[in-house]
Every structure is written in structure tokens, then in C-alpha cells.
């Protein structure tokens, strides 16, 4: 039986992925290798923030305790966040940023593409909107992966190093989660495990064309969906939540 708390939990997972990733990408503004890239990464962050707002607002509504999107974003502690760990990793260099973008936008693309057929009207609407935006994010990451991988010796080395750094965290994206699985059985969510083959096929083709190698790394322990995080999430939340907690009720 589908319960509203299950839907709230699922929307929170996807919303937290988008929110944390948006916050990380925002850190690139003024630090990207060129001005256009500052703008591009900020644009991608903005799309993700929009998706996060819709998902967190829906999670709050399904939860039924009157929490708003802002309450959920600013007044939950680290252990209450259910994002995938790949989203919270510190920025690293531009090679790492692009490696993460390739992995994460590729995951979101496969997810939203399937979720737009959800029987849940809100999730379907958010996904149908988001999949078009994420297609641009994935293309952006793909173009950079090709440019860096098949570029100079140094750009190739750093892109490959970025992949090696990020890859242990990709396994978690495709682990079946009890919430997602239960809702998927009812046609309302997508079982994350289903996304892996299509994702791997796309990424493999990009890496091959970019003359890069699929990193043979062991999977990180994961646990983001259960609220277990790397030390890096706490720092991110401290910055993101500082103003709202110092000045409760502030509007901006």
C-alpha cells in the first residue's frame, strides 16, 4: 500500500540530490576556467534548485506536518539529508567537476526520463520538466569530457584523475532503495537499479570517444539515502543554512 510518508521520503531523496548538487555547483561561480563556464555552471545549478524546490515542497505537503520547502532545506541537520554522496563531494578541480557532472546528470537523465511516466501526477510533472533541462546538463558534461579527455596530455590526465576520484560514488546511484522499490512496484517511482545499464552504455561511449578509461575503482560504502554522509556535507550545510538559522523568519 502506498502511503503519503513514502512519497514524502522519495521526493525528499530526489529533492536533496538536486539541492546539494545545486549548492556545490554554485561554488564554481567566479572560479571556473572561463567566464562562460561560470555562467554555464550557475545555470545548471539554477535548474537543479528549481527542481529541488518543487520536490521539497511536495515532500512537505505529503509529509503533512506543515513544513515548507525552506523548512526542509534550512532546518534539517546533516543526518536528515538523504542525498546521494556523489552530490556532496567537495568541488575538487575542473576535471573532477566535469566527471561528477557526467555521472550525475547521466543518472538524473535516465531517472527523470522514466519518472515522467509515474502514476503520481506531481512526480511525473516535475520529471517531464526536468528531463529537458537535464538533457542540456548531460550534453554540457559530454562536450567537456570530450574536450578534456581528447585534449592535451595535461587535460587528459586531470580528466582521468577526476573520473577516478568520483567513480567510487557512482555505485550508490544505482542501489535499490526500499522506498523507491516499493513505490516503483506501484508505478509511482523508479527502482534505481534499473537505471544502471542505460547509464553505463551512455557513459562508456563518451569515455571511449574521449580516449578515457572507465575507472576500475571499488565502490564507496554509500549510505546517503539513510542519512549517512561524508564529512563534506556538514561544511556545505553550514554555509547554506547559516543565514536562515541566524535570522529565523528572514525573507529574501
Amino acid at each position: 500500500m502506498i502511503t503519503q510518508p513514502a512519497l514524502a521520503g522519495y521526493a525528499l531523496q530526489l529533492g536533496d540530490d538536486a539541492l546539494v548538487m545545486a549548492q556545490r555547483l554554485g561554488e564554481w561561480v567566479s572560479r571556473a576556467p572561463e567566464l562562460e563556464e561560470d555562467v554555464a555552471l550557475a545555470n545548471i545549478a539554477l535548474d537543479l534548485l528549481g527542481q529541488a524546490r518543487a520536490l521539497l515542497a511536495y515532500a512537505g505537503e505529503m509529509e503533512g506536518h506543515g513544513r515548507t520547502e525552506d523548512d526542509l532545506a534550512y532546518f534539517r541537520d546533516e543526518r536528515e539529508f538523504t542525498n546521494l554522496q556523489i552530490a556532496e563531494l567537495a568541488c575538487g578541480d575542473f576535471g573532477e567537476a566535469i566527471a561528477r557532472q557526467l555521472a550525475f546528470s547521466g543518472y538524473q537523465f535516465e531517472l527523470y526520463q522514466r519518472l515522467q511516466d509515474s502514476r503520481d501526477e506531481t512526480l511525473a510533472a516535475v520529471a517531464a520538466k526536468a528531463v529537458k533541462e537535464v538533457a542540456y546538463h548531460r550534453d554540457h558534461a559530454t562536450q567537456w569530457t570530450l574536450r578534456l579527455g581528447d585534449g592535451t596530455e595535461e587535460s587528459h590526465r586531470r580528466m582521468q584523475a577526476g573520473l577516478t576520484r568520483v567513480w567510487p560514488y557512482t555505485d550508490e546511484m544505482f542501489r535499490t532503495d526500499p522506498l523507491g522499490q516499493a513505490l516503483a512496484a506501484d508505478g509511482r517511482a523508479v527502482d534505481a537499479a534499473e537505471l544502471r545499464p542505460a547509464w553505463a552504455e551512455y557513459v562508456t561511449a563518451v569515455l571511449r570517444e574521449a580516449t578515457l578509461t572507465w575507472p576500475e575503482t571499488a565502490a564507496a560504502p554509500g549510505g546517503g539515502r539513510q542519512g549517512l554522509h561524508t564529512e563534506q556535507l556538514g561544511h556545505l550545510l553550514a554555509e547554506m543554512q547559516y543565514l536562515a538559522r541566524c535570522h529565523p523568519g528572514a525573507r529574501w
Binding site: 562562460e36 555562467v39 520538466k129
Partner: protein, 163 residues
Amino acid sequence: MTTRITDIRTVVGQVPDPEIPVLTIADLGILRDVQVGADGCIEVTVTPTYSGCPAMDTIDRDIADACARHGWPKVTVHRALSPAWTTDWITDEGKRKLMEFGIAPPAPRRAPGGRPVPVSLSVPCTQCGSPDTREISRFGSTACKALYVCNCCLEPFDYFKAL
């Protein structure tokens, strides 16, 4: 005084987009519906261009202000995500205004009646019309635009990317 729904639709439809003020929200295709409720409250439904479009709150306020100026103070603006907005909903008039404003209009995503979409080989320059242009960045000054430059007249310009 009786207010005809067509008048209200016209007033709401003429609200300019805050980021591309040459376009009205009707030109942009984000105005979904205008109704008058039993209590006389105007119910407007709009859809965002992008999930994170920062102009949405301003658009809500501008709609309420426009109605208030015409003596209709009770307005509620609803957001609808589905069906997702597409650049195909920008009217022909809207595309003409974009071009005039210096933003290349989006290529069609779906031809009416399911006919094949004519493939555009390039985005023509909004200054000199040359087809010899190149993309500088897929992401521009707002979420809905990409940055281009003309190889012929060397002027940079925005392209409203197809979504």
C-alpha cells in the same frame, strides 16, 4: 460594471516578461489559463519556462499589479508544471519580436501535424543575418538562452535555445 473575460485575458496576456521585456507572457506561451471564479476572483495559471526560472515571482506580482490597475484587485496566480513548457509555444509574433530585439528565436522542436522538423543548419546572426555563426556557450545570461558569435560581423548575440 461587468468585465468580460476576454478583456481580462488581454490585460493579463500583455504583462511583459521581466527578463525579455519585448515579449509578453502571452507571446512567450507561459500563460496557460485565465478564469473568473464565482467570487469574482481572477484565477490565472502560468507555467515556468525552466524549473528554476527566477522571474516567476516577479511575473506573479506583475500579473496582480496589471489586474489591480484595471480595477480587479482579487487575483490568484497558480503554477502548472504539466504539460512542460516548450519553446514551440512561443508565438510567431513572439519569435519576430525576439529577432528584432537581437535574440535569435528557437528552432522548432516539433512541426505542427507531426510533419518532420526542418533541420536548421545554423543559427543566423541577428545583426547581419549571416548563417556563419558559432556557439560560444550552451548557457547564456538566463537559463533559456545560449551565447553565439557571428563569424562574419564578429558580433556576439543570444540564441533562445529550443526546449
